[in-house]
């Protein structure tokens, strides 16, 4: 191989590596959080949340297992903190029943594969035999794992009656 041919080959390798490196830098920077609300992500989050409520009402434990992250932290309106196993057991046993589902007033913040959804719920819920119709604010955190948005954190707080 002549010195000139060797140089050209070396130059091509260098150019290729530079392109690959620039590509990797692009991927790395794209993993930085973005604040752009993405309509498609919002739709996907709402779809995952609807699927979750549907699975709760049907007690579809396989779907619920898939839609909740293993590290789930769930804080309910009574200030009780539940992990995934405890939360799913409340649904399976019937301790927690959704008699109706009604949510609105959403705010979404999207940071790459993290989506934070806050909203208001007026769902009617039976919890350990007591029916709760009071409106509440919630914050839900979804993380995209293996192509699926899963709930990893949820907290609900009753909206106080300001006339009190």
């Amino acid at each position: 191989m002549s010195e000139h041919t060797y140089m050209r080959k070396e130059l091509r390798i260098a150019a290729l590596l530079v392109i690959v490196a620039l590509g990797m830098m692009g991927v790395a920077s794209s993993q930085e959080a973005t604040h752009e609300p993405d309509a498609d992500i919002q739709k996907a989050i709402l779809a995952a949340d609807n699927e979750r409520y549907d699975a709760m009402q049907k007690k579809d434990m396989a779907a619920l297992d898939r839609l909740h992250g293993d590290g789930l932290v769930f804080i309910n309106t009574k200030g009780r903190m539940l992990n995934k196993a405890e939360y799913l057991e409340e649904i399976r046993s019937g301790a927690l029943k959704f008699l109706s589902v009604e949510t609105d007033d959403y705010t979404f913040c999207i940071y790459g594969d993290t989506a934070i959804m806050s909203g208001r719920a007026k769902s009617v819920v039976e919890y350990h035999g007591v029916v709760n119709k009071k409106p509440r604010r919630f914050t839900s955190v979804f993380i995209k794992m293996h192509g699926q948005w899963v709930l990893v954190a949820h907290q609900a707080t009753l909206i106080a009656d300001e006339s009190n």
């Binding site: 705010t107 940071y111 955190v141 909206i159 106080a160």
Partner: protein, 159 residues
């Protein structure tokens, strides 16, 4: 001349390989346990700064810690933006008489940390003094190398 071209090629290869190595390390770092512990420690440090800033009504520091998209839900189920929260703090509408947070737990998902804990701080807001112990969730997201609070919600412990 040929020696010069060869040197340029080698320098380019070296630079590109270095960038690829650094990028691959950055990717691995998101996964390993060491980075999880590091994220927890960093978030705790920011949380401690936030606690101090709240007690001292250091709005400038809170402005750096709070994300512009902050969603803040208090124990009465009221929702506030960053601007509203900072305005209330700056105007003295939020007053801490004592500050106590404990029982932290963390779940790290790359550049997102879900932090939960319990607080029994005594705080006055809108003329009401709140002494009820409560659970809270703080969501921190790392943007531009800085952990920022993007969401907070608190719920009174009623049982």
């Amino acid at each position: 001349m040929r020696n010069y071209e060869g040197l340029v090629c080698r320098v380019l290869i070296l630079c590109a390989a270095s960038v690829m190595w650094v990028c691959s390390l950055a990717g691995q770092e998101r996964q390993d346990d060491r980075s999880v512990v590091q994220a927890e420690n960093e978030v705790l440090k920011v949380e401690q700064s936030r606690d101090k800033a709240l007690q001292e009504r250091d709005v400038a520091l809170l402005d750096k810690i709070y994300s512009d998209q902050l969603v803040f839900v208090n124990t009465r189920g009221q929702k506030f933006t960053k601007a509203q929260r900072l305005a209330d703090l700056g105007a003295g509408k939020v007053e801490y008489f004592s500050y106590n947070q404990e029982g932290f737990s963390y779940h790290v998902y790359g550049d997102t940390v879900v932090m939960t804990g319990r607080t029994s701080s005594v705080v006055k807001f809108q003329g009401r003094v709140n002494k009820i112990p409560r659970l809270f969730t703080n969501i921190y997201v790392r943007t531009g190398g800085q952990w920022r609070l993007v969401a907070h919600q608190a719920t009174p412990i009623v049982e």
